[in-house]
């Protein structure tokens, strides 16, 4: 029984990796674009699970929170709204397949080089279990981001802010002659400006 328990992380890792690869294939092979997006969501969720195996709890939760909970929701929306002709999109599949396979192999080679580096005495890989992990890596990440990497972190924040401002400026346009409500005027309206109470004697029919 005991060996099985020791094998458990490995079983989980292989199971999830297999599912991850299968759902990644689903993203590019699904006939329906909405299904593709959902396969991508599944990819993110499984990646988060694999990160949890590595005790990277903050990254795992952040991946689900940011990508699954926000980015993919919007992407799913766009895909649902657009009437994408799946047949026409699939025409390019065989044409671009060699290029795709090349990129895939390149990525695989880069990942495989980790194996080779493990053998060498690269410091980072020799000691993947940093002492930070003992007290939860959310705090550790926070401390690093706001002290050592403060500039990089702030600059990334400014770039994102610029992107937001840019996106809003590009889409913000006021059409002429459009009747929209002025909320401030609505809120500022007072009853006595709008309604005139008239006092008049009751009429009598005599």
């Amino acid at each position: 029984m005991q060996p099985l328990v020791d094998l458990f992380p490995f079983i989980l890792f292989s199971g999830w990796s297999g599912m991850l690869i299968a759902s990644a294939l689903g993203v590019i092979l699904a006939r329906n674009p909405v299904h593709s997006v959902l396969f991508l969501v599944l990819c993110f969720v499984i990646s988060a699970a694999i990160w949890l195996l590595l005790h990277a709890e903050f990254l795992a939760v952040a991946l689900v929170l940011v990508y699954v909970g926000a980015v993919m929701v919007l992407l799913l929306f766009v895909v649902m709204m657009l009437d994408i002709n799946a047949e026409r999109m699939r025409e390019g599949l065989t044409r671009y397949a060699p290029f795709g396979v090349l990129v895939g192999l390149l990525l695989a080679a880069q990942l495989a080089s980790v194996w080779w580096l493990r053998g060498s005495d690269a410091e980072l890989l020799a000691q993947p279990q940093t002492p930070y992990f003992s007290e939860g890596n959310t705090r550790a990440l926070g401390e690093l981001l706001y002290t050592e990497h403060l500039y990089a972190f702030e600059i990334a924040g400014y770039i994102l802010l610029l992107a937001i401002v840019g996106a809003i400026t590009l889409t913000l346009r006021r059409r002429q002659g459009l009747r929209v409500q002025q909320v401030s005027e609505q809120v500022a309206a007072r009853a006595k400006d709008r309604v005139r109470l008239v006092k008049m004697p009751a009429e009598r029919d005599e």
Partner: protein, 354 residues
């Protein structure tokens, strides 16, 4: 509990006993939550009936107490109709996707002193990510039904949830700053010591924003444009019937109870007693009430659940553009300002932040 199980299951390795113990805990909590959901529906009909001078359900069992079970039985034996051109697979997956996050989020809620199914250090983040997943069930239900009303309901609901999630997240940032931890157990522990220590006072604006965003997030009245009976029939679940509809129903009420419990945990000290430290726990009856226990979390959750029902019976439905305005232009600035105020308090060591 792990010890008792360990004696029974002595032939299994320690890890397996642990797994069985957490399975038992999960099952127990899930059953309690589902029973609470059943009685929340009964309570809702009774409370709204009372507010509208009606009787509410009073035929099945004493004062209608068995009504939820009659409803469940009815829904389960009804036929599930799948619309002709619906996406069959997604149509049936959507209710599951709506229900699972609503139950999964309970994993990190500290139910009574020293107990939560998963005592995660990133508990607050986990909660945020689970509540943000519930939206998939609604969007997919709207799209897979292949119905205009359903799609309109899904669109409204998604825009609303995305808007209020941000305000909710910022409100949680305030709690995180005050407690100095993402762990929900520690957040409750920081508020222990009676009513004066609760975060509701220093974080009053965030408390309001959080609870109202919670109402919006669960698509409850007055934010129920996603269902809007008078406009789009029933919104995203218009094509659902029988057991599939029951799952959406279950998800909505489970989410309501979750938001109520979380408001209690984050701002009202969770299982902590309001008289903590004021009364000697050695006293006969008052002492039991003064001790932190499950009772206080249940009582506070019930209070907020009642507010949910009260709101529904009181307010007319918001207009869609007003909902968006409230979320983006009122709540987000309020939370941002209060977080800055909190930061100033911290640096100057004022009040509870010293």
């Amino acid at each position: 509990m792990t010890e008792i199980l360990g004696n029974w299951l002595a032939f299994l390795p320690a890890e397996a006993v642990e797994a069985v113990a957490s399975l038992v805990a999960i099952l127990a909590l899930a059953i309690v939550v589902i029973l609470c959901v059943a009685y929340a529906t009964w309570l809702e009909r009774k409370v709204i009936g009372f507010m509208q001078l009606r009787q509410g359900p009073n035929r099945v069992g004493f004062r209608g107490l068995l009504q939820p079970f009659a409803d469940v039985l009815k829904l389960l034996v009804k036929e599930i109709v799948i619309p002709g051109r619906a996406n069959r697979w997604l149509f049936l997956t959507a209710p599951v996707l709506a229900l699972v996050p609503a139950l999964a989020a309970w994993a990190v809620v500290p139910v009574f002193p020293g107990f939560a199914i998963a005592d995660l250090d990133a508990g607050l983040l986990y909660l945020l990510s689970m509540t943000s997943l519930g939206i998939y069930g609604i969007i997919l239900a709207g799209w897979a039904s292949n119905s205009k009303y359903a799609l309109l309901g899904a669109m409204r609901s998604a825009a609303q949830m995305v808007a209020y999630e941000i305000a909710m997240g910022f409100a949680l940032v305030g709690v995180l700053m005050a407690a100095g931890s993402l762990n929900l157990g520690e957040i409750v522990a920081r508020q222990s010591g009676g009513v004066t220590q609760w975060f509701i006072f220093p974080l009053a604006p965030l408390f309001l924003v959080y609870f109202i965003s919670g109402v919006a997030e669960t698509n409850r009245a007055p934010f129920d444009v996603a269902e809007g009976e008078s406009e789009i029939v029933a919104g995203f679940h218009v094509e659902y019937g029988g057991a599939t509809f029951a799952m959406f129903f279950l998800a909505e009420y489970a989410n309501m109870i979750l938001i109520a419990a979380l408001t209690a945990v984050l701002f009202l000290g969770g299982w902590d007693s309001p008289f903590h430290g004021l009364v000697d726990p050695g006293w006969p009856v008052v002492g039991i009430l003064a001790a932190p226990s499950l009772f206080w979390l249940a009582a506070k959750t019930f209070l907020f659940l009642f507010v949910f029902l009260w709101l529904r019976a009181t307010f007319p439905r918001y207009r869609y553009d007003q909902i968006m305005r409230l979320g983006w232009k009122v709540f987000i600035p309020v939370t941002l300002v209060w977080i800055s105020v909190e930061a100033v308090f911290f640096t100057l060591q004022i009040g509870p932040f010293a």
